[in-house]
Symmetry: C2
Subunit: 342 residues, 2 copies
């Protein structure tokens, strides 16, 4: 772990700790005041898919959503890391069709649906994996729409010099407050550029997204529209059994969450005016989920079975027998940690 990182979550087996996850968390309000922080929040981290809702703001501010009459499900899918289930694929295909394209225009790469049932069902129908099954296909379909609405050929839209990516990068730098340089640039899993930002800057960006404060009127309106679209379509954001979908089915619009690869998680709490960012230093998604659930309970003042489940989750073997648990660190959960796993 980095110096100063803290325990986020641990697993047990037979009453003994089996594995431990360390990292950092930041809870920030829209004025930039840190409400709570633990671990190294200053070192820049790649936000990965947590910033998809910020990358989707131009769909509204640049007129693409209006031009192609994108429904709320499409706006939600543009913010999603989905599991490639039929509902996701249908919406992504529809988005592309509205712009006059099919999934041949997508530059995100091809993989089988992440949902095993969906992958097997596709194979049973004799169909191959396509780009539209890629977990980022909604975001990329949004980029194609954005390109067409701006009068640009979408070809090459993943490149840092393409007008679409310039627009998206500009929004990210503005909302996080972190300049984009060669030094903090990398390439994301779906081929677009990504820039590392300190964890507290990422939390601030989602406090702004949660409230509209500091965004300016046009982006604030776009953020409100995206929040509503996400809250109305939690299945679009992830899919069957996934953290974001389960938490938002229970708690949206008061709580909005988004996972990212390598153990990153963001939360927007509009009623509290807070943004939360979590980085599990080892990249462990399970720990980011567990820590986020604890912070939602504590700082969102939410008391819900789905948070109890993710804060203190029973681990079972293939026969369904309990073998241990995955639980949030008490330093994060405070009084919110349930007494037993569920």
């Amino acid at each position: 772990m980095l110096a100063g990182d803290v325990l986020l979550a641990e697993t047990t087996r037979g009453g003994r700790v089996e594995s431990r996850h360390y990292g950092a968390v930041a809870v920030v309000d829209a004025s930039g005041r840190t409400v709570f922080a633990a671990g190294d929040v200053a070192t820049a981290i790649f936000p990965r898919s947590t910033v998809k809702a910020l990358q989707a703001l131009p769909l509204l501010t640049e007129g693409a959503a209006a031009r192609f009459s994108l429904p709320d499900a499409a706006l939600a899918l543009a913010c999603a890391s989905h599991q490639g289930e039929p509902e996701h694929v249908a919406v992504a295909t529809d988005m592309l069709a509205r712009a006059g394209y099919d999934d041949g225009a997508l530059e995100c790469g091809v993989h089988w649906p992440l949902d095993g049932t969906a992958a097997r069902a596709l194979a049973v129908c004799g169909q191959p994996a396509r780009a539209v099954h890629n977990c980022c296909s909604g975001k990329h379909a949004g980029f194609v729409c954005l390109s067409c609405a701006g009068g640009h050929d979408p070809a090459g839209y993943v490149g840092v010099e393409h007008p679409v990516m310039q627009t998206v990068a500009h929004v990210l730098a503005d909302v996080t407050g972190i300049a984009h340089t060669h030094d903090n640039q990398g390439t994301d899993g779906c081929a677009i550029p990504t820039w590392a930002v300190p964890l507290d800057a990422l939390a601030l960006a989602f406090a702004r997204f949660a409230t509209g404060q500091g965004l300016g009127a046009t982006r604030a309106e776009a953020a409100a529209r995206l929040r509503a679209a996400i809250a109305a379509n939690p299945f679009m954001i992830a899919g069957t059994g996934q953290f974001d979908t389960r938490v938002m089915e229970a708690l949206a619009p008061r709580v909005l969450t988004k996972m990212g690869a390598e153990g990153v998680m963001v939360v927007a709490l509009p009623e509290q005016g807070l943004g939360i960012a979590v980085k599990c230093r080892d990249g462990g998604v399970r720990a980011a989920e567990t820590a986020a659930a604890a912070l939602i309970a504590r700082f969102g003042k939410e008391d819900s079975p789905v948070l109890h489940h993710y804060m203190r989750r029973r681990l079972v073997n293939w026969n369904g027998q309990p073998v241990g648990e995955l639980r949030a660190a008490s330093a994060l959960a405070g009084d919110c940690l349930p007494e037993t796993a569920s």
Copy 2:
């Protein structure tokens, strides 16, 4: 991480470290002398599937292999965490048939093949997942054979009081030198009991397995037979694209490896008379593989493309573009770390 744990491996993106894995490693000879150790090797950890070869020793010492004329592929599969590919399923089914059973006798639970291609192929044939696809089905088929050879009804063989599990537990305690108590007992993913042991004791157990020293003549002969069976059947131990299979296809019988869940890995180096054990504290399999490759290169004095690959692995996105790397900590790899990722 635990106090004293060390960096095992890290990932980069765009030249910047993205995630870090900490843990412990122990390299021990058959006399119990620690050749190299880093991190907390004293805290007991659950060895998970790394000890399958030790659990398979009674197949030979108790006469089950002879009674049912188990071929080498079956002995290897008894030591495996396989991907549920057709070759694995065929051998597990054959093992059960030799004892007069089918996979209804397996008590390991049911899951779809871990190999995606195998899972989809099964679905295309209209077949459901069965216990024989469970990654532990070979070990469990071995337990059924052991039960029958001993004249015991296999029903309930996963229970700690069943004669088969008593026999297996006795071997584990003997070879690791660690007593089994209520305090260090847990339940493994496939329903059998498991006992936590210090990492250096786990490494010692595999130095003994590598050499036969300290096992007694009968168990030493059984270990030699299992080593030969594993070395001749690396595909049986894991499957397509898996670390154990790839490393042993290149380096067995000089190098034998076995992964376990939650970031545990063991290595037996018969020519050097060494056993190696790795625990990635956060449970990260990728870090355990990376660290093990570095320790094999360094302490096994092996120089091989497959080790270079796992010590310093290129990470690519869904388009196949390089985005960063996963590399072993230089404190583990010493002079063996390649200069570039492959």
